[in-house]
């Protein structure tokens, strides 16, 4: 083939030069991407491959469902808390367990602290370097940075020229020491970097502030989740007791002093996202006002299950409403039912799995999901089974399955949630988006509408920042609700009535859904005779990184790269920028280094 029209409205042309970037990230299974560029270096075909087999589902079979959270917490170093939460929710759903109000609220606070921290870490540690040139920050006049800071965020007290000069000196010392470390891998001479020096210095300064603040926010998890860095979860509630008159001894129940400490940290987080993170994203975006690429599937189909209700068990109170938008029709939100076998299905036609004879084109609902690896390259693949030079996207080419909603590929993540919430008219989100766009348009001299600005790489990054701040806003509400509940005399944190497997039915099945930082996360469990019979995780990166399905529909990663012009195909800044905007996991290194720090990732142009 040369040119092909996909059923979901994209044009693919694989006739041009093929560029391979491997790995893009090494988490949740490594990610590799191959693109074809035309004679003007515009991306015309994109193929994303999950390059690592993750068979978590199969190793859970036969285990105690109450222990599943501890296993799934180890899938990946970044997503520990959301997998654990999805797991306990799935088991509670299967067994009909309702957790006490305090547990409901404590879990929400923990999930939002995690989301907030995850978003901040993602932006400053991983993604900012796709936009910001830290080396160029050495050229900045700290007075210009101070002026810029006061313009973009008047409420930020740390804005003096002296403050920025100190940071610049610290940075210079680090660079001059010859150990560039984390900054050693960038394509800093690439013309794709557009920030002036003063903006680069502002961003690098906040990168350091974000690092400083990390150690403060994790203390909330330590108080509520106990054992850090792997917080504790429990089927039926939370493993921490409340005793308002208790002392501060290690392992002691939550008391007023600890709760006050949590409140202080939540307030600090709120101030950081309001005064630093959100203004930074708007300011940086304004310098890239003409780089409105990367929207891909988000302009068509988005999905989330919905989460964070104010009333337990009542989805109509979800602060992130669930649903599906198809074909860019923001006027209609279709309801989603994760239990309906006709709605969510996973296909393996282009994935290295098999469902059995005659099932190659069948979609399976996660409750009936099969995880049976079948590694084989297509006839047009180049290289060998152990050293692939180019995959054959017409055959199987990824370890990621292809989940679909009623046959439709959907983008998931903060941008999907923000498009859903904005379309539904969630007042807080609407005000946030409109305000952010006003500020962006004012700085950039543009007049972009939400529908033009949101479905882009920049929009994806902005939505994540806004979501972080919305999480901070919500956690303070959750905190107040918890204090009111405790003061009303409810100290319960766990419902143990169905802890004993003897109380369980012979067979049960459930689903646990979480608005995870990277998008819609679902765990589906089947329990038989007190043991796990089947377990399937459909994670956000499965939705976004999915390969093609039997109809040839492409997923979010692939769609997002199409039409993007590259300054220099041998320095795939644009590819990394857009793929990183999905936050495809990060702790295990996204900026991959050789021992001398020399290599970002392998890029092959052929």
């Amino acid at each position: 083939m040369t040119t092909l029209q996909t059923p979901n409205g994209f044009t693919l042309d694989n006739s041009g030069r093929r560029i391979v970037v491997d790995p893009v990230t090494r988490i949740e299974g490594h990610l590799r991407v191959e693109v074809n560029v035309d004679h003007e270096n515009v991306i015309r075909n994109a193929v994303s491959t999950g390059t690592m087999w993750r068979g978590l589902e199969v190793i859970l079979r036969g285990r105690d469902p109450r222990d599943a959270w501890a296993f799934v917490e180890r899938i990946c170093g970044v997503c520990t808390g959301c997998h654990a939460l999805a797991s306990v929710r799935a088991v509670e759903d299967a067994l009909g367990i309702r957790v006490p109000t305090n547990a409901f609220l404590i879990r929400q606070i923990m999930a939002k602290v995690l989301a907030w921290q995850d978003h901040v870490v993602h932006f400053y540690h991983l993604h900012a370097l796709d936009w910001v040139n830290p080396i160029n920050a050495l050229q900045a006049d700290p007075r210009a940075t101070s002026q810029l800071q006061q313009t973009v965020s008047p409420d930020n007290p740390r804005s003096s020229p002296g403050y920025f000069r100190d940071v610049q000196n610290r940075l210079r010392k680090f660079v001059e020491s010859g150990q560039l470390g984390i900054f050693k891998n960038g394509y800093w001479d690439n013309a794709a970097y557009l920030l002036p020096p003063e903006a680069n210095l502002m961003a690098v300064t906040h990168y350091l502030e974000a690092l400083d603040f990390q150690k403060e926010i994790v203390k909330v998890h330590a108080v509520l989740g106990g054992k850090n860095p792997h917080p504790n979860y429990m089927v039926g509630g939370v493993p921490c007791a409340i005793n308002m008159d208790g002392d501060m001894a290690a392992g002691a129940p939550l008391n007023m002093e600890r709760l006050n400490f949590i409140l202080l940290k939540l307030q600090e987080a709120y101030a950081f996202s309001k005064n630093v993170y959100v203004p930074d994203v708007i300011a940086i975006a304004s310098y890239y006002k003409n780089w409105l690429y990367g929207g891909g599937l988000s302009a068509h189909n988005v999905m989330d299950y919905g989460d964070y209700p104010t009333i337990q068990g009542d989805p109509s109170t979800d602060r992130f409403p669930g649903g599906v938008i198809l074909n860019g029709n923001w006027d209609e939100i279709l309801p989603i039912n994760p239990r309906d076998p006709a709605q969510i299905q996973e296909f393996i036609t282009h994935s290295w799995y098999q469902y059995g004879p005659g099932q190659e084109y069948t979609g399976l609902h996660p409750w009936d999901g099969i995880t049976d690896p079948h590694y084989a390259l297509g006839v047009n693949a180049k290289g060998t089974r152990t050293n692939i030079l180019a995959v054959d996207e017409n055959a199987k080419y990824s370890w990621i399955k292809a989940p679909r909603w009623r046959g439709n590929a959907c983008e998931v993540g903060p941008l999907a949630r923000y498009i859903l919430a904005y379309s539904k008219g969630v007042a807080y989100v609407k005000a946030q988006v409109d305000d952010a766009l006003d500020r962006f348009n004012h700085m950039a001299g543009t007049a972009l509408t939400p529908k033009q600005a949101l479905p882009t790489t920049i929009g994806r990054t902005l939505a994540r920042a806004l979501e972080a701040h919305y999480c901070a806003h919500q956690m303070l509400d959750d905190y107040n609700a918890m204090i009111a509940n405790i003061k009303a005399g409810d100290l319960s944190t766990a419902n143990m009535t169905k802890w004993d497997p003897a109380t369980w039915p012979k067979e049960a099945k459930g689903v646990g859904l979480v608005a995870a930082p990277r998008g819609a996360l679902g765990h589906w469990i089947k329990i038989r005779d007190g043991k796990i019979e089947n377990y399937q995780c459909v994670v956000p990166s499965t939705w976004n990184g999915s390969p093609r399905d039997p109809r040839g529909t492409i997923g979010a990663f692939e769609a997002s790269l199409l039409g993007t012009p590259m300054v220099n195909p041998e320095q795939p800044v644009e590819i990394l920028r857009t793929l990183h905007s999905f936050d495809p996991c990060l702790a295990c290194a996204t900026h991959v280094m050789a021992p001398d720090g020399g290599e970002l990732s392998r890029v092959i142009v052929r």
Binding site: C76, P229, M593
Partner: protein, 212 residues
């Protein structure tokens, strides 16, 4: 986790096991600190931590330590199950040398960020073991590598004694559990589903077929 305490005038020391327990010998570091915590009592300024694969998220625990002792499965290019020790500047180099594991490059970045922020530990040590296999998803440590837990434990105790003047006391076994009992080594390994239930092969670029 044993929380780093504030014993007077003593800067904290951390013994950090890293790795993924779900990937066979990749779990060596975590299993070794589990063993340490189960068998010895440590003074309050010595922390014993299961860091998993948390990379950047571990940074808050690593700031301004006096001494950091990392235990990990590292590809040094040595024969399987060989114990190898490096310290100082050699640590980040060793941890990034071969990108076979999911966490090593991430941890190298953590060390780099500590340097940038000027809060590197006064001294850093890495006690590693060369893994035999990490290609057995859902599996435990191989017998050869598991046999090195006491050896590496001795090395860690020597470092604490010689570098930090810390003496530890063997404790009565079984008096304290470390971490979540569902994924403690014995429970995790004994409860493994059969190979029929849980396949143990996959992508040949990463996974070679185990002896069947």
């Amino acid at each position: 986790m044993v929380v780093c305490g504030a014993e007077e005038n003593k800067k904290p020391i951390l013994v950090l096991g890293i790795g993924n327990i779900l990937w066979a010998d990749e779990g060596f570091g975590v299993r070794t600190v589990e063993y340490l915590a189960q068998h010895y009592d440590f003074p309050s300024h010595v922390g014993i931590m299961d860091g998993g694969t948390q990379g950047l998220y571990l940074m808050p625990y690593l700031e301004d330590l006096d001494t950091l002792i990392i235990v990990d499965a590292v590809d040094f290019g040595l024969p399987p199950a060989t114990v190898h020790y490096v310290c100082g500047d050699e640590v980040p180099v060793a941890m990034g040398a071969r990108k076979i594991s999911l966490h090593q490059t991430g941890f190298q970045e953590v060390l780099s960020l500590l340097a940038l922020r000027g809060c590197m530990p006064r001294s850093i040590h890495l006690v590693g073991v060369q893994p035999l296999t990490m290609e057995d998803y859902g599996g435990g440590l191989t017998a050869e590598v598991a046999a090195k837990i006491p050896v590496v434990t001795d090395k860690v105790l020597d470092l604490l004694k010689l570098e930090c003047s810390v003496s530890v006391i063997p404790r009565q076994q079984g008096t304290e559990t470390f971490g979540i009992s569902a994924i403690a080594r014995d429970v995790y390994e004994a409860g493994r589903p059969s190979e029929k239930e849980a396949c143990r092969y996959g992508d040949e670029r990463f996974l070679t077929l185990l002896e069947r």
